[in-house]
Subunit: 512 residues, 2 copies
């Protein structure tokens, strides 16, 4: 029964089928849907939309919080519904369409999308589709496992469709903290001074008259595909625990460290998992997503509080955690992603940001998004929101990929998402490079000797030595800087068949 | 007479010669000196230090606010005093030493240096050397034409040397607003909600016992070398005025716009100068440096208030403005650069950031610092503090350099300081590209057709077309992406002798 989930009674009359609700969305519209790291996404209206697109022309601009569940982006992509997509995605079918130039993807810092919407620098939202556990007596929308951009989408949209999801437990009510910054230039400080501060409402306040349809669903969130820690990820976690112990010994932080942020994925999860075997206690998170390891740390009593914008779990943890979510309510808060990722709060709290790199170069520039400089993976997500304003900005990656054919440490990255100015520490399973206070010429040996895989160290040393002969603050051999990637595109491997990657074509190699 | 400038009487006994004061600085020390964009720098102690370095080994880590005056960095560099330098410089002799690898330069966001000092992530300051107009009755230090990092340097240093500069008018007293954020993780919001808010003290509070020496100087600030607006800079200003009028018409801002930030240099100054012939009024600045044009706008009554960290003027304006600085006191405030550039405040106020690009690529990535990816010009300065958090992030550059031999719009920049995620608008004398809400494949035609010089448009179009054949979200021809720079290093020009820049070496050029 869903009637107890719709506590504002007039809306009971607006319960319709997904097809009817999807009928509110027309060709050319801009649609804002809930969903952040697969959690709390709209699940049935988008699929009805895709079915309708088989019969009539239907192309929309689709905005979400971040990535959505298994079917949504791929089904919409295959149906040709998505003309433009922002600010993040992680779907294989959509990714291919983006890289073919069929979908215009706008890759944004996750805190910025609603800021641009509010200031009318992006087209206005025609329809918002928001998953909810319930609608309050006043018509307020209670989100589910993510907040993402849902609050601002609903507030700014002309019309709102609510998907009441009966598979999401009513105990989620009270876990959210919905705060919308006041309009600029009359904005007040965001009053969060500790990760646990609640500053807003437990629901999204919307004019009930704007809620044009309510749809009932019973589909669970897609779960994440976190792999269990392996030797490499355990080594990365170990290097980080050692590093933090070093920082504690030098008086730069206490044993509760500083508020932690960790990106999504196996490596980030393994890093937090590593804290189970550490001397650190009373940890707090100020992050965008909470993965399995956060609940391990909460259950073990090692973490005191966690603030984020979504909960994304692997199948095993999903069953456990979502079933007893009420127990975590005093130690969890879910916020709009504008707030979970807000530069103001990140800088104020002094967050330790731990994010994954696709590749890093010998001077500390990080590529988070593009394979070979051209092909989009997922998007920058929140990494830039956190890294620039962090107390400590850490990037983690395995040292190689494709069985060693690709080095994740390269002479020059093919795309820069995090500049050298924003990267304090790089960690691979090989070791950790602490780049704080170092000039580029000092960073290169740290990164090569501590982070690169041994199979690539000589090649990197050779590149760096040749670059030093050319001179400069950040020495490069410009005609060879992207040569490793060119070779990998041609042969599948960054390792040269014979000789060195800087052999050939270099003028005056032995010169001054 | 200087005695009325030293109102804390016990310090009268600490007045010494520059040589004696410089004696407090010993080999291997970390020294923090005042100075931001040539203004308010320590002027006599550093030169005494350079003289001493002729007689004995003396190498230091030198931190300042930003660039310092004409003699300081070059004299110290020639004397071999600077081992390490941060966070910014613009001196020709120092730049060469950095590029030869003789000085380790750490190029930082200007808001971050004291944050890293405070959290002990940089080595502690042994001695601070601060230019002042006066010392208050309580021993507080009143800065001169800049605040920069002086306040935190003085507060964090073991010992402080004050240079009382009699050439700086006592009327500067009251213009400064010294606020130091509280320590993380217990930090409170920075309480600025309007550019004119004063939140701190008019002097730097230090324990008088820490003031180890006072030196008297009478040297004026170095003036800036702002060139008068020419046809190109006037065209850039015209494009921006047109764009802002368009934004006003579309209801995105009022005729007072939003608080303005403008970087240092001729182009930025000319842009503000262009506002004299515009319908905009009651303008406000929240910037890091105030140049000539700001005082034109204040004098004409077109600007209401200006907040920054320094005042840097050309010779003509210097004589006029500094002589009557008291008249501006109600409409000016100088803050620590941590506050003038603080991401929290920049985001809250909704600043329009206008900064200069060294080069931009067809997808909107900007290089602010490195010639040919290797050779440092000045440093990123405050551009990253502002651009990422701005309401609107604008980059300006002439479309060519070296008489047309170099294009400032290139296929791929050789170094990225501002990522595609942080660049909303690019302007050259050719026109303006509005990149908001566009995917990379949409940005390229905008930048090529509106910003590139006509002499380079065909070459850029050809590169982009070939890149499109290779595919991707941000299509590149990786083996040719840096080819323009490689050619310019070899021939002095990015223009090919014959044929196109993507001729030669491209596989399957006509393929799918």
């Amino acid at each position: 029964m869903y009637t107890d989930r719709i506590r504002y009674r007039p809306l009971l009359g607006k319960v319709v089928s997904p097809e009817e609700a999807a009928g509110l969305i027309r060709d050319g519209m801009t649609v804002g849907m809930s969903g952040f790291t697969r959690a709390g996404d709209a699940k049935v209206v988008p699929l009805a939309l895709a079915r309708r697109a088989r019969r009539e022309p239907l192309r929309i601009t689709l905005m979400t919080g971040a990535s959505v569940g298994d079917d949504v982006d791929s089904t919409l992509t295959r149906a040709g519904v998505i003309a433009r997509r922002l600010p993040f995605q992680s779907d294989p079918a959509l990714r291919e369409a983006i890289n073919r130039g069929e979908v215009m993807f706008v890759d944004q810092h996750l805190s910025e999308t609603v800021e641009q919407l509010r200031s009318r620098q992006l087209p206005p939202i025609d329809v918002a589709v928001i998953e909810a556990v319930a609608i309050t007596e006043e018509g307020g929308i209670i989100p589910t496992t993510s907040v993402g951009n849902s609050a601002s989408f609903a507030i700014l949209a002309d019309r709102v469709i609510v998907e009441i999801n009966l598979a999401q437990p009513p105990e989620l009510e009270g876990i959210h903290d919905i705060y919308i910054p006041t309009r600029r230039p009359y904005r007040e400080p965001i009053p969060i001074v500790r990760p646990e501060d609640r500053i807003g409402l437990p629901y999204i306040p919307v004019e009930p008259a704007k809620i044009a349809a309510v749809v009932i669903s019973e589909k669970q969130d897609s779960t994440s595909t976190i792999h269990a820690p392996d030797e490499a990820t355990a080594a990365i976690a170990g290097h980080l625990v050692d590093f933090f112990q070093h920082e504690v010994r030098h008086g730069r932080m206490g044993e509760s460290l500083m508020p932690l942020q960790a990106g999504i994925g196996t490596v980030a999860n393994a890093t937090l998992h590593g804290f189970l075997d550490s001397p650190f206690h009373d940890l707090v998170m100020y992050s965008e997503v909470l993965q399995d390891a956060v609940f391990e740390l909460l259950d073990e009593g090692r973490m005191r509080f966690a603030s984020a914008s979504s909960i994304t779990l692997s199948p095993g943890w999903y069953a456990t955690v979502i079933g007893r979510i009420g127990r975590y309510k005093e130690r969890l808060v879910l916020r709009p992603q504008e707030i979970s990722n807000h530069p103001e709060v990140v800088r104020r709290l002094g967050v330790i940001a731990i994010n994954a790199a696709l590749e890093a170069d010998i001077y500390g520039n990080v590529n988070s998004t593009h394979v070979n400089g051209s092909f989009m993976m997922n998007g920058i997500g929140g990494s830039g929101d956190f890294a620039r304003n962090a107390f400590l900005s850490i990037f983690v990656t395995r040292s190689t990929a494709k069985g060693g054919a690709l080095s994740r440490i390269v002479p020059m990255v093919t795309h820069v998402d995090q500049t050298e100015h924003d990267v304090d520490v790089i960690v691979t399973e090989q070791g950790l490079a602490d780049l704080r206070g170092l000039a580029p010429r000092e960073r290169a040996p740290q990164i090569i000797e501590h982070c690169a895989h041994p199979a690539y160290r000589d090649l990197l040393r050779e590149y760096f030595q040749e670059a030093l002969r050319r001179g400069g603050h950040t020495p490069h051999v410009l005609e060879e800087a992207l040569g490793w990637h060119v070779r990998a595109m041609a042969t599948g491997s960054m390792l040269p068949a014979t000789g060195s990657p800087v052999a050939g074509g270099r003028p005056a190699a032995g010169g001054a």
